[in-house]
Amino acid sequence: MTNEYRLSSGGQINRSESISFKFNGKTLYGYKGDTLASALLANGIHLVGRSFKYHRPRGILTSGVEEPNALVQIIKDKGKTDPNLRATQIEIYEGLNTTSQNSWPSVNFDLGSINNLFSPIIPAGFYYKTFMWPANLWENVYEYFIRKAAGLGKSPTKKDPDIYDHCYYHCEVLIVGAGPAGLVAAKTAINSGKKVLLVDERPNFGGNLNFSNKDYNKINQLAPLEWIKKTCLELQKNKNIKILSRTSVAAYHNYNYLIMIQNLTDHLPDKDKKEKIRQRLWKVRAKKVILATGSIERPMIFDCNDRPGIMLSSAVRKYANTYSVKCGNNISIFTNNDDAYETAITLHNKGVKVKSIIDIREKSDGTLPKKCNELGIKIHWKSAVIYTEGYKKINKIHVMRLSKDNTNVVGNKLKIDCDLLCVSGGYTPAVHLFTQSGGKLDYNEKKHYFFPKKNTLSQISVGSCNGTFGLKNIILEAQEKTREFLDIKETEQFNVLESEGGVFENIWLIPSSKISGKTKSFVDYQNDSTANDIKLALREGFKSIEHVKRYTTTGMATDQGKISNMHALGIISEITNTKLGELGTTTFRPPYSPITFGALVGRNVGQFFDITRKTPMHDWQEKNNAKFEDVGQWKRAWYYPSGNENMYDAVQRESKAARTKAGILDASTLGKIDIQGSDASEFLNRVYTNAWSKLAIGKCRYGLMLNEDGMVYDDGVTTRLSENHYIMTTTTGGAATVMGKLEDFLQTEWPELKVYLTSVTDHFATVSVCGPHSKKILEKVTQNIDYSDSNFPHMSFKNGLVDKIKCRVMRISFTGELSYEINVQANYGQSVWEKCMAAGKEYGITPYGTEAMHLLRAEKGFIIVGQETDGTVTPVDLQMDWIVSKKKYDFIGKRSLYRSDTMREDRKQYVGLLTNDPKEILEEGAQIVAEVKNKPPMDMIGHVTSSYYSPNLNKSIALAVVKNGKKLKGKKLYVPMPNKTIEVIVSDTIFLDKEGKRLNA
């Protein structure tokens, strides 16, 4: 193995465990403990991708979650792949196979880089400006090329084979982040006796302290790593605390509700992943939350600041100390603060040549710059890097002195050779979770960052995410604030050694010797937006930060601008001469870092995705070849094909049999509500449009229920079982909402009514038998019922028995045929069904499904709520004036029927339609016009709601709603279709047996 950039000793990697992995097809080696990024850098590989718009070569910039460039795809088995992963977070394992994203055909030879030559023509808003018209090219042309060229990873093509978990968790204190602040907070919190949860997204705790220089940072006389180790051991021994690593908080919602994602197996070799849960989604309710999320180092914004080999100073220090990797051999550093000098000293001590430090400040009195001076490292004060050279890797920097006010560069241009440029623009507090939770920020004009100001939740921020810097300050603040927050008395003494720091100075956009507009100073690396793009957006009149963000797409990539946001804001504030605090920030939205769909869905896949409801007769239907349709959560028998029959033929046969012999339908899914109480009749009077007080015991009545706006809401038959006892049926889909609505009115509007509602939908099975032979079949199946018309007329009910089983039989009809519904306790449903089948055999009883039911009722012109109605249809529109009581003082929706709009004569009204050609079947949903034009647009006056071929009438029939339809009977209208126009005649809605003779056949 080569690893020519691996230092000979040190680091937290396990050198005895060599690991092979693939990157872009090439086999490479690293060590256990490496990330993909550290292993690539150890092999001298910086170039990992191409930029989004210009396809410029891009390298690894950071060492963590904020990485904008090093996005890779993990290739697994065929069709199984994970896109958009940050190389800086992937822990390598034996067999890991990765490729660059965003480069085609390869990262070293990239066709898209031709965009770079034409970059002046891809300014901000380019996509909006260019691809606006013609709109239809979007689908076929633009999107295809943009997607291919942008290359934001590939989606897997196969079902995800991994297992994901969800877990609810409650704790008294949640600490997010286990850097120095989080560890001190945890150490303090465990003394409270409270149940504590400590999480960190990284595999190792300690945060940036992990790779701090031990000569300049000590806690209680211990070197950083020793203190971290000791502290973690102490915490692990405590029973009050639960500790989770590789666990990232994705979202922080109100009421201290947090969503966390824990990686359980992503870092393991494939053989160890098998049968294990891959990721767990935690839903945490915490009484109190301590945010210790740290800070993110900023780059510097100058011309060509995006070349591979330009990296954040803290990242280079981490690669050297944690992974024992030197990111270059000849290093320059560009900084505005003292922290970068620690990187210089660290590298120097490891024998890596640090050639020069370019510092925008006049001077610094800090301990670290002094030390660098002693070490003989050349420091260029009051200077800036203004340009870089090198295509696939940096090889030169151009340095000039800054003018007094930092707005210009002056003097001679100095060219310095280097193979690595560390940049450090200071640190930005990671306030993402704080703002997600509703926290408001304030801006520190001196230190140039936003920090947490106010939050109404039980929450504190400690450490650098709170804008507190310097190890000593961080530790003391974490301890003091936690103590106060949790009301803890006893405290531990911390003795912290740290370097004395100089003052930080800030320039948002480094000046250039070139004329403005000729520079490529990248602000957002992932979305390829430059300082010039922001300037252009401002010139074009965008003022709000949210608008500039969208127009330039700055901060809108998968990293949500973790690196770019502050500079974008800074540049806007400078150009518009607005104070940054007044400009405000853009909104950070969950998730903090991208999460998998698998984790979000958890175990709710396949049959567990949604509840499936089956009727008691389901098994019989399945055995008898029923095809099912989903009606809400219900599986309803749709039709029963016999032999090779298709759906059309089956439905025709079933519909014919129901009218000529006997049909049997499973109506168990209809909603059933048991209504009892001395005010039940009055209650029904108020919820239905028709009158109920005079309904005799033992009688059934059809009712129509409206919304308060007068629109049809539900319908069904209600039966009076005894004086104060009714059973209401609702539509299948409306069962739950009708129940809810009735409960609402009873509890809030009419609490004086003595009425009790019970949903009994699942308690009864309903077998509906119809057709001329239905009475004979019922007589065979049930006992104790006299079926004579005089004793048991249409719209009435009888109690009876099926052998020993109690049943209620209703003589009601949705088909227009003589028809009975047998209701029995649900678990007897299938046996009663089978009895009916046996008894009906000699009469040719035929099971029919929902499709034939729909056809049969359409022949009779009966509406289906939700098919003929859509929330804009009144009973008058349906020509059902007969069911609306004029006498009743009030009912839900009554007043709305007399609004000027609902009284309009030319509303869309319910009509029948017949085609000239009886074989022609209209399409449901087809639009209807009175006048045909050559091409759209045409005035649409209605649409087809139901359409069938009627086997009983031997012609096609359709139902529709048409503007002014009541007055159009006999008139000719048109249904324009893509390749023809169909003529229709407006007809009555009842196509069969207008007189209703069949009900008594």
């Binding site: 919602h253 009421y255 409960e743 609402d744 509890q747 809030t748 709305s896």
Partner: protein, 90 residues
């Protein structure tokens, strides 16, 4: 993502409840005597306040009782919950 204190059951997760819009709208006792405008006022017009709003909630996956809550819509803080027919303490 709230925690709501049902006056009958106590503190429960938001997901057990459903929202029922503005509270204290009184259904007119004599709707037929109202003008179209007056009826529309009751039927359609809602305050949609930014700040403290009195609203109806139903513990639909619990006791199924309706109750009222005083919620600040700007930060979702619930200041009080009270039974139908009662007055808010805030």
């Amino acid at each position: 993502m709230f925690i709501i204190k049902c006056p009958y059951c106590g503190e429960r997760d938001h997901s057990e409840f459903s929202y029922g819009g503005e509270a204290h709208l009184i259904r007119p006792k004599q709707p037929t005597e109202l003008s179209d405008d007056q009826w529309a006022e009751y039927l359609f017009m809602r305050k949609n306040i930014k700040g403290l709003q009195y609203e109806r909630w139903n513990h639909s996956h619990g006791c199924r009782r309706w109750f009222n809550a005083a919620r600040d819509t700007s930060n979702d803080k619930i200041h009080s919950v009270y039974k139908i027919g009662e007055k808010s303490s805030k």
